[in-house]
Symmetry: C2
Subunit: 621 residues, 2 copies
Amino acid sequence: MPPTGLTAGTPLATLNHLAARLRILSVRSTTEAGSGHPTSCCSAADIVAVLFFSVMRFNPKNPKHPNNDRFVLSKGHAAPLLYAAWAEAGAFNPDDLLRLRTLESDLEGHPTPRLNFVDVATGSLGQGLNAGIGLALNARLDQSNYRTYVLMGDGESMEGSIWEAAEIARHLKLDNLCAIVDVNRQGQSDPTILQHDMEAYRARWSAFGWNALVVDGHDTAALLNAFEQAGQTKGKPTVLLARTLKGKGISFAEDKPDWHGKAFKKGEEADKALAELSARLLPSPPKVEIRLPDPPAKAPAAARPVAPPEYQPSDSVATREAFGATLVKLGEANPKVVALDADVKNSTFTDKFGKKFPDRFFETFIAEQNMIGAGVGLASQGKIPFVATFAAFLTRAYDFIRMAAISKTNLKLMGSHVGVSIGEDGPSQMGLEDLAMMAAQPGVAVLYPSDAVCTHWLTALAADHQGMVYIRTGRPKTPILYKNDEQFTIGGSKVLRESAKDKLTVVAAGVTLFEALKAHDELAKQGIAIRVVDLYSIVPIDRATLLASARATNNLMLTVEDHYAHGGIGDAVTAAVNADGVKVHKMAVTEIPHSGKPDQLLDRYGLSARHIVEKVKKLIS
Amino acid sequence: MPPTGLTAGTPLATLNHLAARLRILSVRSTTEAGSGHPTSCCSAADIVAVLFFSVMRFNPKNPKHPNNDRFVLSKGHAAPLLYAAWAEAGAFNPDDLLRLRTLESDLEGHPTPRLNFVDVATGSLGQGLNAGIGLALNARLDQSNYRTYVLMGDGESMEGSIWEAAEIARHLKLDNLCAIVDVNRQGQSDPTILQHDMEAYRARWSAFGWNALVVDGHDTAALLNAFEQAGQTKGKPTVLLARTLKGKGISFAEDKPDWHGKAFKKGEEADKALAELSARLLPSPPKVEIRLPDPPAKAPAAARPVAPPEYQPSDSVATREAFGATLVKLGEANPKVVALDADVKNSTFTDKFGKKFPDRFFETFIAEQNMIGAGVGLASQGKIPFVATFAAFLTRAYDFIRMAAISKTNLKLMGSHVGVSIGEDGPSQMGLEDLAMMAAQPGVAVLYPSDAVCTHWLTALAADHQGMVYIRTGRPKTPILYKNDEQFTIGGSKVLRESAKDKLTVVAAGVTLFEALKAHDELAKQGIAIRVVDLYSIVPIDRATLLASARATNNLMLTVEDHYAHGGIGDAVTAAVNADGVKVHKMAVTEIPHSGKPDQLLDRYGLSARHIVEKVKKLIS
């Protein structure tokens, strides 16, 4: 019998009954849907039953309770099991499970936060533990005693992001974090790489500094014991390595290779499975009591307005540096603001925030996927996390960013060192596809300030904005364009140069905006007037101003950007005004760039004032 | 004294002299450039000296020799050290090193294959070992005895991609692969997470099944011994965990935290560093002999033309399935074609290739970054690797794809299960940003076949094309559009419906092309003629046909795509014809989609024939 200090005294017979119920509901719902992963649910049903009905403390009627223990289903394809557990716990009517995977129900194929009991979307494997780190850090920040459980599959143990999380969780001594690996040994197309070599799993997790417990994942008493040990282990996270069988409880599918991702067919097949599972139910349904969480502590202090910037007109400041300065002010104004770094804090200037607010700053080392995943976890609990690295290295975490967009997260991303204007370090360090990848995701605001004042206000607006925001910053110092009290909006733009005689509108942001301003002056000397627009918000885009500018300049526009040609400013502007008959010409980077001096490269790749002057003259002739 | 069976008998004094030379050249070149990472070169100089001048067999005058031992500098910021080693070995004049990081020299800030001795671009950390797996597999395929050495940093050991590689290399028993971790304990902004805890490193690598040797990275005798052991170890890869000091040999920088990424200033600072390093040189330069590789074996059989497809007009075939069928034919026609999978081979249909050509098929499990990295390594040695997974999961490897583009690799990517038309699995499994991310990269051909015949020919063309190719495929079965002998080209398109009275051109590909054809028929019933173009090549794009179609249809176009609105077909078409005064309207997915039935979802997100009909009528009214 298990000890009961940290777990409820739920009888094992009840837990086994509940595990059978979860299997039955998983089979029923997937059979009704005609698709899904019932066998992946069956391997983990005992683990989930023990967690939900004896180990975890949570209020099923209030999944957002701040002191609820958190559960992340990293193996998102076992969604029906998750749904069954919440339904069985009383969160909603189990009959709703039969609408699984339909357009009419938010019980989707993989879990998303459209459901109030899902903190982060899963379904792309190997992301749950990273989010779990964010959840565990949040408990520490809030001095809450909630614990975080992450259920992973064995197949996804191959994803490197899990080992990023393993190393960081050990380093952060997250003893409020407990991972479970459902080692059912069957992948989608083949047995998993380690199959049932439980000692190999133990060796890996132990070597990464975890309390690693090998357990029979179908033995509820053993599981209770292991969770008890996990709760008592201090100074390190615990992982339960649970040996299981895929399709457990269904004789013709159990441990069989050909049953991945297949619903049992209605009729004989499903009936046989359900009959076998039902044989494990108690004659009459047992009473189940969920252990409730502690009442919430007092709410954190409200946010104050952020202090305005204090730049001088003669200053020259890199936008990445202005971002760092504002982040400190945001930290002072809003206790929910936190920041994460991947060992570039002295390049993105988040080090200033880290020095001022060490408790709210997390050095997560060179592991960008984990940084984003942890940020998403923190955001799911009401924090406002800023994650910053070179824009080029955000590509490393694009799947995490994609899933963050599906989660409709409140994460704020900053990508620095964009474009060829970084110079000598060469193409591997140049962010040249960041606008394409960020703007593609629905619901992400994409901002690109050119001077320090604009950076300040956009960073402040980002914190207040509900939803994901991307801020693009540059490496070189740039002049001040705006007064400290200039007004900016997400979705706005600024017309910096205009006259009644303008022949064409140049749209730019970042270093190319300054090239456009130089071109404006050079063209003015030659008697040619152009309009210049600072497009500091790419998504949403200020269509009205763009269109008005185009109308005033012969419906002729030229975009100039330190970004590859596809998916950047040029395409965003074109998409906004093309259908109104405006002709938009693009200047952008069209080949893999070379190392060199920033000004040399801007010129080599056709983005310098000289090239803009030439292009304008050609277009208006 | 080291054994000399596998290494040259180069005296230790000579190796120490050469290590000093490499340090001196690294300092000189970075000082002249005014930027770079000399201290990161100094920590690894002894390792590189031992490798290049005693362990490795290669022809410095012929870096492409097929039997050369391969060296990958995963810590790409130590590029000056790599360049110094090749110069010192005789590949080029050491004076050229003083043009480091200039636009005039290919000795860039981080290594790229613009240099003939660089197989794969590095500089985004944690990618070298993945490429190394490809190099080691290539040796096995070609029955060559060359060995692959990958020099990594300790900071990058945090990147999960390294642990993906570690697991796979063990599984594949790659004893011809040797990794070296330069554990200099200093990161960019902080000490590394494990600093000099060499036992922690040993525990992790041993647990992952490697022969893990802890060694003093500045002791040339110890290094020789360790490389000797590595060469004698069978059945598993070896890692040398080399304890080093950053800035080794320069007293004022050695093991100091503030010297990351800083060149020594010309004058007193650099002079002092160079004086200290020069003191370690032998009085007169020793004679160095590089060990040459075995002569090349005979070339593989030449490729034959691929067999044509044999589809019936009445067939209904998913494009992913047609891809798999063609891959088998390609395997028969061309011995250089290989394929890699990440446990979805029964969904992408690469399992057919795997069954037919088990030696040329690599199951690399659920680790997409490693799959792409290994593919890049194979491609660098002349193989034609096809890597296939769900398009959504290619986002996982976007940094690897970005670096592959910088390498100008000959990799072929297939992304399946695109768009909302996958149905019930929901948004986490839907590739909806793949066109944006692939088309952003210069030099990538982006193809999107709609039927099995087109898929066949585009897959065959992809194999012949020099450069990276992306093929987008769908989950649902689709009808046959073309005769088996139809001609396709990369950069082409097909006008499927046209008449003299067409009011508008609809451009589509994939499932939406069939919706467009349905809309065409429905509109025809209502007396409205439209043109329909199959845009099977997004990059390069068939501007001439698009423009001609637009000209014939009132300069009015409508794009319809199962992809997010930014960076997809609509933007590509608009960018191609907008400046010619064509108005392009877009229909695409504009929000995070929901689970549901494929047809329901196409309708819900505005991509069905019904919506196209409505839109066309609105646009032409």
